[in-house]
């Protein structure tokens, strides 16, 4: 009640004070009336009444104090005072805020990413009871130590496993749908009908997969995004490749599939899918086409190991006899992946938060250094406040308020930067054919984290300067005696921190240099085609307006594209180098050799020549080459060590083909993949499914990319065009990971460099503040300015040198290790080493430059006179 009255007063302050003043003047008037009645004249009465009343201002002040919330008033005072102080030293504020921002931005960004990816659990019930079942290749050096499960294998397992109460199937599938009159590419998951029951994911509204008609479940995100969360969507028709599916329900809000990064928006029962899209059946019925992820719900009391053992039994007994591709090396493997992921996520988050805390501690130590130097320079002011009666607690509080304000500024800027960064991140990824809807948001957990960040860091960097700066020693403070100083001796821990920071910056910059050089090394790997050719490509997914896949004839499209002004050559094909996918495998039979799997592929007439794939022998495919095939150099060597294979016949998937050309080993998935034997047959002109068109143009192909896609869309309205880019872009996109890593390491290196610089600046400034009088005396006694500058610089030089030595001690063994593994690397690593040292030294000297420069501005007379 009392607090309420006080707050009420705070709000109505002005009017309440006006009333009080009026009341007091009424009081005087009544007293005057009385005195007049007692016989005084007006003038006497007035002065007597005023005398009796006393000091009106004091009475008002005391009345006001009765209401005031003292701590709040003082807090506001402290805030105003802090703002005034900051205005007077904007340089220091900018520096302190900057070093905090440097720590806050990665803190907030990483924490919100970890919060989203690692901490938010997947909304399944009892994740400890859910096991992921897969196959393990027990051989050492196996290409794929773990294997997914094919659909027929899943059916067998589902029939035979008794240790789980349910077994569910899931397979990622890109689909084309029509939403609000727009065609859209979405990620769907083909799932078994019991999928949501096994995982224990609720469907609200709606129910999971009813039997009466083809239906699917949509994600909560899609419901919100495309249907505005309308309640009447149940039963609405959503066409998938033109087939009519009814929306049966909406999955629980946070459920985007079992993978938080590769999210799904639709769940389609796999059996319904196979009925409506029979062309997928052949592929899905292959036992060796293992693309399914399967989940089992453990029966009560059953351990994952029992499931592994049971799967093992099924593999040995039941799966193998049916399996055309006999794989006796596979064993069963089941583990509670979701629960493990949850636990792992917590551990990784804890480690991440710890690393971020170290970063924050370093930044705070730097800010503390800057504030200590500032407190030293403000000693006189502090002493005056103490002389006027300010208590130590009050001074500490005022100083902490200033720290919290610095921290708040930094948090505001940090949050804004982190937000921008999060919005930028998806754009940094190479364009994916199917967009992944990944929302990066600042949720309540993140806000809590930011608030604790502000408070903890403010205490961390503010407390020591506040404590030391408020030390009550009036006389020395007022005299500004340099013999006694709050900074005392060097704080060794800060020096150690600076050394560690210099070392970290050095190692990070060096690593960035190494990754950059490994990128250069990768660039020297021959991609097997000529990225500099003026060629634009685009992939067409032919469908009708409703998204129904159709067969198309490529010839008319070629004619249409050839009419684009300037186009010199057009071609189509299916196998594009560096497309990220290695394509499919075919069975190769040659006389006198065991049948084996090699990579297959299809290309239209002159497709490879258009892409600039060099031919080692023979020629490219032609229109009439129904039975012809191209082989890569690796396959040619395997067939005949001399490589003379032109005209030879081989059997591919049972059909006889004649080799007409040998092409240079072109990288298939990426330049990092080892080259595998490969055979390319003719892509027929009439076909269904995606097909890539390439046009060779004069000059800059970038200008033709849009023309190519619009040409394709015009040829088949309703179709979807993806991956339209130039050959150069295709090549560059394949180095995305290395380029991103280089950027990330350079970013981190520059970040720690910035931290180091602020730290060094703080130390040098403190040194200058502490000894400015001594310097003045030395100058007055005839020391040359450069000698004094040397004194200031010495600290910075020693710390930087220490850090560089430590950094090199860490970096050189790494460089040695890499040099011994990769030939031709030593020159690069020496350059990277030299460059990183140069950057660190430059930054360190730049940080010390300002305090050193101040030496020049010392006026010995002025300083000594102020004694």
């Amino acid at each position: 009640m009392k607090l309420w009255n006080r707050l009420h007063h705070l709000v109505r302050r002005r009017s309440m004070e006006r009333e009080l003043k009026e009341e007091m003047s009424a009081h005087s008037a009544l007293a005057e009336d009385r005195l007049r009645r007692d016989g005084m004249n007006s003038e006497q009465a007035h002065s007597a009444a005023s005398r009796a009343f006393g000091n009106t201002t004091l009475a008002l002040e005391d009345s006001r104090n009765a209401w005031a919330i003292r701590w709040l008033d003082e807090l506001l005072q402290d805030c105003r005072f802090a703002l005034r102080k900051m205005r007077r030293a904007p340089g220091t504020v900018v520096l302190a805020v900057l070093s905090l921002v440097v720590a806050f931005v990665p803190s907030v960004t990483l924490f919100s990413a970890m919060d989203r990816i690692l901490l938010t659990p997947i909304p399944v019930s009892a994740p400890d009871e859910i096991v992921r079942v897969m196959f393990r290749d027990a051989r050492p050096n196996a290409d794929h130590p773990f294997e997914l499960v094919s659909y027929p294998e899943f059916r067998d397992l589902r029939r035979s496993l008794s240790s789980v109460s349910g077994l569910a199937y899931q397979q990622q599938q890109g689909v084309i749908t029509a939403l609000n009159g727009q065609r859209e590419l979405l990620w769907a998951q083909l799932v078994s009908d019991n999928y949501f029951d096994v995982l224990g994911v609720t469907i609200q509204p709606g129910i999971a997969f009813s039997q009466d008609r083809p239906n699917l479940i949509i994600s909560h995100g899609l419901w919100m995004r495309e249907f505005g969360g309308r309640s009447d969507i149940l039963g609405q028709i959503l066409p998938i490749f033109g087939q009519r599916f009814a929306i049966g329900g909406v999955a629980a809000p946070d459920f985007v599939g079992t993978d938080k990064l590769l999210t799904a928006d639709l769940w389609i029962p796999v059996e319904t899918w196979l009925q409506l899209e029979p062309q997928y059946r052949t592929m899905m019925e292959r036992r060796d086409d293992r693309e399914g992820i399967i989940w089992g719900r453990l029966r009560a009391g059953v351990q994952p190991e029992q499931v592994s053992a049971e799967v093992n039994g099924v593999v040995k007994g039941e799966l193998s006899p049916n399996s055309p591709v006999l794989d006796r090396n596979l064993t069963g493997f089941a583990y509670a992946e979701l629960a493990e992921r949850e636990r792992g996520g917590k551990v990784i988050t804890a480690i991440g938060v710890f690393i971020l805390a170290v970063l924050l501690a370093v930044a705070c130590a730097n800010v503390a250094g800057i504030l200590l130097a500032q407190a030293e320079e403000r000693r006189q002011e502090t002493a005056i406040r103490q002389a006027l009666g300010a208590t130590r607690a009050r001074l500490i509080r005022a100083s902490l308020v200033e720290s919290i304000m610095l921290s708040l500024f930094a948090a505001a800027i940090g949050l804004a930067c982190a937000r921008t960064l999060m919005n930028l991140l998806p754009g940094l990824l190479p364009a994916l054919p199917i967009p992944i809807h990944f929302e990066f948001s600042i949720g309540p957990d993140v806000w809590l984290y930011v608030i604790s960040l502000v408070c903890v860091s403010a205490l961390f960097f503010g407390l020591i300067p506040a404590w030391r700066g408020s030390r009550p020693d009036l006389l020395t403070g007022l005299r500004r005696d340099f013999a006694v100083s709050i900074l005392h001796a060097h704080i060794p821990i800060r020096s150690i921190l600076i050394v560690a920071q210099v070392a970290a910056a050095e190692v990070l910059l060096f690593s960035a240099g190494l990754i950059f050089s490994s990128l250069s090394t990768l660039r020297q790997v021959d991609p097997g085609f000529d990225p500099s050719r003026p060629v634009a490509i685009a992939t067409l997914v032919p469908t009708t307006e409703e998204g129904v896949p159709i067969q198309i004839d490529c010839e008319p499209i070629l004619e249409r594209l050839a009419r684009i002004v300037g186009v010199r050559r057009v071609a189509y094909g299916w196998s594009v180098p560096l497309s990220g996918s290695i394509g499919y495998t075919v069975r190769l039979e040659t006389p006198g050799q065991e049948p084996r799997e090699i990579l297959g592929g299809r290309a239209g007439p002159a497709f490879f020549s258009t892409l600039g794939v060099p031919f080692l022998a023979g020629r490219d495919l032609q229109d009439s080459d129904r039975q012809a095939v191209l082989v890569n150099a690796t396959l040619a060597r395997q067939l005949d060590p001399s490589g003379r294979v032109i005209g030879r016949e081989i059997r591919l998937d049972g059909a006889i083909r004649q080799i007409v050309g040998v092409f240079h080993d072109a990288a298939s998935g990426s330049v990092r993949d080892p080259v595998r034997p490969r055979a390319i047959s003719l892509q027929p002109s009439r076909s269904a499914g995606e097909i890539t068109f390439a046009i060779e143009v004069p000059g800059d192909p970038a200008a033709y990319v849009a023309l190519l896609s619009s040409g394709l869309v015009a040829a088949h309205p309703g179709s979807t065009v993806m991956n339209s880019k130039t050959l150069r872009q295709l090549y560059e996109d394949s180095f995305f990971a290395e380029r991103t890593a280089t950027k990330a390491f350079y970013g981190l290196g520059l970040l720690s460099l910035l931290l180091t610089a602020t730290g060094l600046y703080g130390i040098s400034t403190a040194l200058f503040a502490r000894r400015s009088k001594e310097f003045a005396i030395r100058l007055a006694l005839g020391a040359a300015p450069y000698q004094i500058m040397g004194l200031v610089l010495r600290g910075a030089v020693i710390l930087t040198a220490g850090g560089l030595v430590l950094g090199l001690a860490i970096a050189i063994p790494i460089a040695d290790l890499i040099t011994s593994k990769v030939s031709g690397f030593s020159a690069w690593s020496m350059t990277a080493l030299g460059l990183s040292c140069a950057i660190v030294i430059t930054a360190a000297m730049a940080a010390a430059a300002h305090p050193v420069h101040r030496v020049l501005r010392i006026q010995p007379n002025d300083v000594l006179r102020s004694e």
Binding site: M1, K2, N5, R6, H9, E19, L20, E22, E23, M24, A26, H27, A29, L30, A31, D33, R34, A52, F53, G54, N55, L58, A59, L60, D62, S63, N65, A66, W67
Partner: protein, 111 residues
């Protein structure tokens, strides 16, 4: 600051006197001061510098409420009225004051 506004009184007694005065009926500030002065036969003169802060404290604690009205000679004045909480406070303060006075008397009259 603001701790010792009533140097002539024991702490809290001014508030008690004001509450007692108001227990006879609503009164404005001048009236309260006059009443205390008259009843104490000019022994207790309340300076306005003490009166108004004390009234503010009483308002803050909801022991009195204030409203504007007209004084006997038709001047606009602010009248204070004691509340139920104020009466309870008055009774309690009177009890502790009585025991204090009795204790002081015992000390002074001891032989």
């Amino acid at each position: 600051m603001g701790k010792n506004n009533t140097p002539d009184f024991l702490p809290g007694t001014l508030e008690m006197l004001i509450l007692r005065t108001l227990s006879f009926g609503p009164q404005h500030g001048y009236g309260i001061a006059q009443h205390i002065q008259q009843v104490s036969r000019d022994a207790l003169k309340i300076g306005e510098g003490s009166l108004y802060p004390a009234l503010q404290r009483l308002l803050l604690n909801d022991y009195v409420v204030a409203e504007w009205g007209a004084s006997e000679n038709n001047r606009r004045a602010r009248f204070y009225r004691i509340t139920a909480a104020g009466r309870r406070q008055l009774a309690q303060e009177k009890r502790s004051f009585d025991s204090l006075i009795a204790a002081i008397a015992r000390v002074m009259e001891a032989t």
